[in-house]
Homo-oligomer: 393 residues x 2
Amino acid sequence: MRKVAIIGTGHTDFGFNSPKTGLELFCDAATEAMAEANVQSKDIQALYCGNGLSDFSEGQIMIQSYIADSLGCRNIPATRFEAACSSATVAIRDAYMWVASGFYDIVLVGGTEKATAMGTALATRTFAMGTDARYEFPAGLTFPGFFGLLANLYASKYNVPFERLRRQMSLVSVQSHSYGVNNPHAQFKKEITVDKVEKAFMVASPLTLLDCCPFSDGAAALVIASEEKAKELCDTPIYIAGVGQASSGMLSSQYKDIPRLKARDISVKQAYDMAGVGPQDIDVCELHDCFSIASIIAAESLGFAEFGKGGQLWENEETRIGGKIPINISGGLKSKGHPIGATGASQTVEIVKQLRGELTSQKRQVEGAKVGLVDTLGGDGIICNLILKKEEK
Amino acid sequence: MRKVAIIGTGHTDFGFNSPKTGLELFCDAATEAMAEANVQSKDIQALYCGNGLSDFSEGQIMIQSYIADSLGCRNIPATRFEAACSSATVAIRDAYMWVASGFYDIVLVGGTEKATAMGTALATRTFAMGTDARYEFPAGLTFPGFFGLLANLYASKYNVPFERLRRQMSLVSVQSHSYGVNNPHAQFKKEITVDKVEKAFMVASPLTLLDCCPFSDGAAALVIASEEKAKELCDTPIYIAGVGQASSGMLSSQYKDIPRLKARDISVKQAYDMAGVGPQDIDVCELHDCFSIASIIAAESLGFAEFGKGGQLWENEETRIGGKIPINISGGLKSKGHPIGATGASQTVEIVKQLRGELTSQKRQVEGAKVGLVDTLGGDGIICNLILKKEEK
């Protein structure tokens, strides 16, 4: 199969209750990505769109078709992917294949979500459709509850004293906010402290409000091209060197593995093997920190720490710029925001910019980064991973 | 790219208010398809699932992940496609690419819908999310209204006297029911008459109840394999020889083309060109007859009749077995039923069975059929087409 590169990126501001529709948000991000890639509507051969809830939030299915038309990409194939929070990463993996196979040369991919107008309480219930609707949601399981359970299980399984885990989780949120301050698209641009995290109101024990990512609206998009087209159009193509995807059953069917998510072990191994790299080769990572405990669990399965020792990465500042494995330098879902259908595309845009070396002016550049990892979790869950590589000159 | 074949098919009964969930329906169809293909859960490398409304109807997003797990296909990549009524056809086209590219050898694809429990009135409003939610749905446009408009436009644009078009539309429904009688999975197994169609209550002028397909629950699934695997596992692989997909904007943005849907012209040309065939080569066709007028319009764009003369195919019984182009010998959406996320997979199962020559006992076999066409319309709309071919021995 052919090499495939990302040649353009676009990203809206993330925030609560955007005045724009999901379609408009996607078009904003896509227009920016197309301009950056120096391509026009007529050059786009297909659209791949991640979206979680436009039906519930805007009464719109088939959003992909209207997006393509609104962008002037008339009559192109437009495909929507719903994989809860991993919708856009799944869309990118799929778009990758259509270009790698030689079927298309230039495609547009991204994700959008406009789902906060329903308010926090209804959003919590609505997003919980990403858990099992037959047994687990009716038993009261929403995502804060899900990750609260995982945090308690984690402390117990790995014998991490609760006070230590509590502080590790706080450090995750504190770091994310410290970088989000410098991300112009971030929903929250303010520093927080360990004390503030721990004194915030309890959402689902042991998770306080500041352990939880916010509800957000926003979009992000990328232009993807074959190596040949990428070299024609772009000085710094960033290659998709590896992809992985795996699924799970409902949480209770994962009882032998949790708090570890076996789907992540499987998905990231596919991506590492395909790219011919391992965790030691990753220079920068965006991982799925929907809740602070989720970051710690993810970092372990991605291979950055032994199981039970993920939190030590944050304790030792190994996850900051200059550390062993810089994680979520965008501010992560916690500070940048988490518009669910857009998140995977947003993570990918961040890694592309890191590998291009474009974030110095934002004081967030991981100097010399050549290989980056994207990790996205949908529901409970689908995992999708991408490994991006800068071309070696 | 490699040749790709369908080696197993499964199909549930279609009907109103199934006692099973969308997941259970899919698993029933998939289990049948896997048995027919002589493959087991461990052989399935990925799942591609079309589904329109499990969120609205069952409070479940991420249904694909739970389906994979329930089938014992643990941790495989599972991807959901939402393209309204064309969801499953889009899923099949995508699954085709993952096998054609060499990435996977054996995958499972299909569609499911369990959305009738909400009742007819709410379903009409809910399905209308497949029209533009910003301008056209708020103006009152539901799908019966949409196709009622097209029927009036059609009569006027092509100077077909209304009484003649009315009778042509009735003949479409009458034929569908005459074949549906013999399809064991059909929702309606009863003959109707022109008189009954015309005297049924008016839904959206000029469309009466018997011009409209029903609301249905059900699922259909297929096992897809590389040519090499197909030959190992199966005596009569049916090849996916061509695929096409195109999108449109909202109805009012299509004013220069309607009642013709330009997306269909574009999509079917892609499929014909890829397969190296034309309309004259198609031995049997399943097309998207959500409303009787939709059949007439589709038959024209697919190349079976001149524009304005589609209805004459039904007048002259050219669409019956033995005619020039047998259409919807399954009973079509009208008689077989239309579980929206499943319909494209159901159409594909029918064409596979026709090409294998398995429908003699059901008195629905198109003798000697070697090339078949699938045509599915999502919303207003996404068109997806597949051309299937029997291997020439």
